[in-house]
């Protein structure tokens, strides 16, 4: 295994990549804009493209970053939580729950807005969170729960939710296209309302995760050891599960299911900078956000003017890279 690279160096690399990603994403879109247009807008306050820059492109970029950061942070939390690098944000079924909610709202066809969010957003968030809570309650016995039981119950409940989703799609096949776009993830409908909906969750969960990062380091040693070192294991576990679920449910509710980010990014960051969660949480968020900005760029430019679902991009890029990483580590 290679020596871990310096954190400050990685930070600079990521910031430069993020800056470049922002810049390219800003210039790229269905309406042709040049560097001069952006320059004129920023420096000379030229309003010609103001709407495109501020109301179309910026929220999309910010949302892609927030969702990428949330999914990666959620994955980093759950990989520590299950002491397993194969864990990701969707491992306890939050994605299946959320997609059921979203497809249900498409199926019902109601067009209701909540504070600028569609019914689909709200249903997805609520049912994703509800499914994990349900799984959590089911896997408890006398106030104690086993991590294994949680994982297996999550898989079972997730499978159940997925089959219900398929059932709904089967019954109303005209909603198939809309549902698929959602099931594979997309930022095509991004606006500021969605940014406003996700940002507070990300901020809250990021601060919470950093707050308890030392405890997560102890949990990795095993519950009994952690507790004997003075860590209130049960409480910490509860909080972390809630944080990871909130992050994943909030992301999925605005952008659909974007696979692989939450699995691969924290895994890679761990290889790069080591196992300390105080750093893992920060770097996973930053790298995940940057990764999704570029993935979104690819999703909308590869088959321009057609937009691909972003989940296809993350899987196509992510899966081979993940296999490469696994082989490197052996």
């Amino acid at each position: 295994m290679k020596k871990p690279i310096q954190k400050s160096r990685l930070l600079w690399i990521l910031l430069v990549l993020l800056g470049a990603g922002l810049f390219i994403s800003f210039l790229h879109g269905p309406v042709k804009t040049s560097f001069t247009d952006l320059w004129n807008f920023l420096i000379h306050k030229d309003q010609t493209y103001a709407t495109i820059f501020i109301d179309l492109r910026l929220p999309r970029i910010v949302l892609a970053f927030l969702v990428g950061a949330s999914l990666s942070l959620s994955g980093a939390i759950l990989q520590g939580y299950f002491q397993n690098p194969m864990a990701g944000p969707f491992v306890v079924g939050v994605s299946s729950g959320a997609s059921f909610g979203a497809v249900l709202s498409i199926f019902l066809g109601w067009n209701i807005q909540f504070f600028g969010l569609s019914l689909q957003n709200v249903f997805a968030f609520a049912s994703g969170f509800a499914l994990v809570s349900f799984v959590y309650i089911l896997s408890q016995r006398k106030g104690v729960y086993k991590v294994e039981t949680l994982l297996l119950t999550g898989i079972a409940a997730g499978a159940l939710a997925s089959s219900l989703t398929s059932f709904l799609i089967f019954f109303k096949s005209e909603s198939f296209k809309q549902a698929v776009f959602w099931l594979l993830g997309s930022f095509a409908l991004s606006d500021w309302n969605q940014v406003n909906a996700v940002f507070p969750y990300f901020l809250l969960c990021f601060v919470g995760a950093e707050w308890l990062a030392k405890e997560m380091n102890l949990l990795v040693l095993g519950d009994e050891t952690a507790q004997s070192l003075g860590c209130p294991v049960n409480r910490v576990r509860k909080i972390f599960l809630a944080l990871a679920t909130l992050l994943a449910a909030a992301s999925v509710s605005v952008s659909g299911i974007i696979g692989f980010v939450g699995l691969i990014i924290p895994h890679w960051v761990r290889i790069l900078i080591g196992p300390d969660h105080r750093n893992l949480f920060i770097f996973s968020s930053l790298m995940g956000g940057t990764f999704l900005i570029y993935s979104d760029l690819l999703a909308r430019s590869l088959l321009f003017p057609t937009e691909l679902p972003i989940g296809i991009i993350t899987a196509v890029v992510g899966a081979p890279f993940f296999i490469y990483l696994l082989n490197q580590r052996r």
Binding site: R141, K142, L221, Q227, S228, G230, R270, D276
Partner: protein, 264 residues
């Protein structure tokens, strides 16, 4: 006054109690070994005594306080625990692992203090692992990682030290080395030690008192000179042995009777 007083302790896991009606006391500066066959409840007893098992009843009094009502943090200030070692895949290095012993003494974002560094330095010297400090724990031998976990327990800076089978998976030279470290800690640092052990000949010379566990209950307890007899070993371990005196320590020592297995 006893450091730790245990009355009618019953404890176990989801499926019920594994240990029953445990009564004993651990005095300040004492070294007690818990002995018994596999499955007799030795590890369970150590866990229960730190409040790690939720399925427990009875009373554990630690310096006048009811231990089962204390928070993990409060217990961790009194008792440090060296769990049984098993293959480890953590990517943390030795120094980071030992620093985790300082968890209860550190502020949330305070970082590492000068005192933390001083203590880490001390415990690494005491356990002779200073040269390993930047190595990953996964790359160490059994004896080395056992010393790292003892160092971590020492960094916790508690009056009481619990160890679960500290000699398991170790070569004989390491076994003796670990017990020497434990004796030094007891005699020079005044630590109170409670340890489980399956190797009788190793535990006896270092312990003031021993406790025999059988099927989750205390069979007998007291000083090894009185307690270790052919009769006791037969009852507890179901094995025929001879007892003689160790040539150096003059404490009782088990001598195996090699044909006993065939005779039965």
């Amino acid at each position: 006054m006893a450091m730790l007083e245990v009355e009618n302790l019953c404890a176990g896991y989801e499926n019920g109690y594994v240990i029953n009606e445990i009564e004993f006391s651990l005095h300040r500066g004492e070294f007690i070994s818990i002995l018994g066959p596999n499955g007799s409840g030795k590890s369970t007893l150590l866990k229960a005594l730190q409040g790690l098992l939720t399925n427990a009843s009875g009373e554990i009094t630690m310096e006048g306080q009811k231990l089962l009502t204390l928070s993990p943090r409060e217990i961790a200030k009194k008792i440090a625990y060296v769990p049984q070692i098993f293959p480890l895949s953590f990517e943390f290095d030795v120094q980071e692992i030992i620093m985790m012993g300082r968890y209860i003494h550190q502020g949330r974002f305070g970082g590492i203090t000068r005192e933390d560094r001083k203590i880490i330095q001390e415990v690494m010297e005491l356990t002779k692992i200073s040269h390993l400090k930047d190595k990953k724990i996964a790359h160490l031998s059994g004896g080395e990682s056992q010393r790292v976990f003892i160092a971590r327990a020492l960094a916790q800076d508690t009056p009481v030290l619990f160890l679960d089978e500290p000699s398991s998976h170790l070569d004989i030279s390491y076994q003796i080395e670990i017990y020497h470290i434990l004796r030094d800690l007891q005699q020079e640092k005044g630590k109170t030690v409670l340890s489980t052990e399956h190797n009788l000949n190793l535990a006896i010379p270092y312990s003031q008192n021993i406790m025999f566990l059988k099927e989750g209950k205390i069979h007998s307890q007291g000083p090894p000179e009185k307690l270790v007899t052919k009769q006791t070993i037969r009852e507890v371990f179901d094995a025929e042995v001879d007892i003689r005196k160790n040539l150096h320590t003059h404490k009782p020592e088990i001598s195996l009777i090699l044909h006993s297995a065939n005779k039965k």
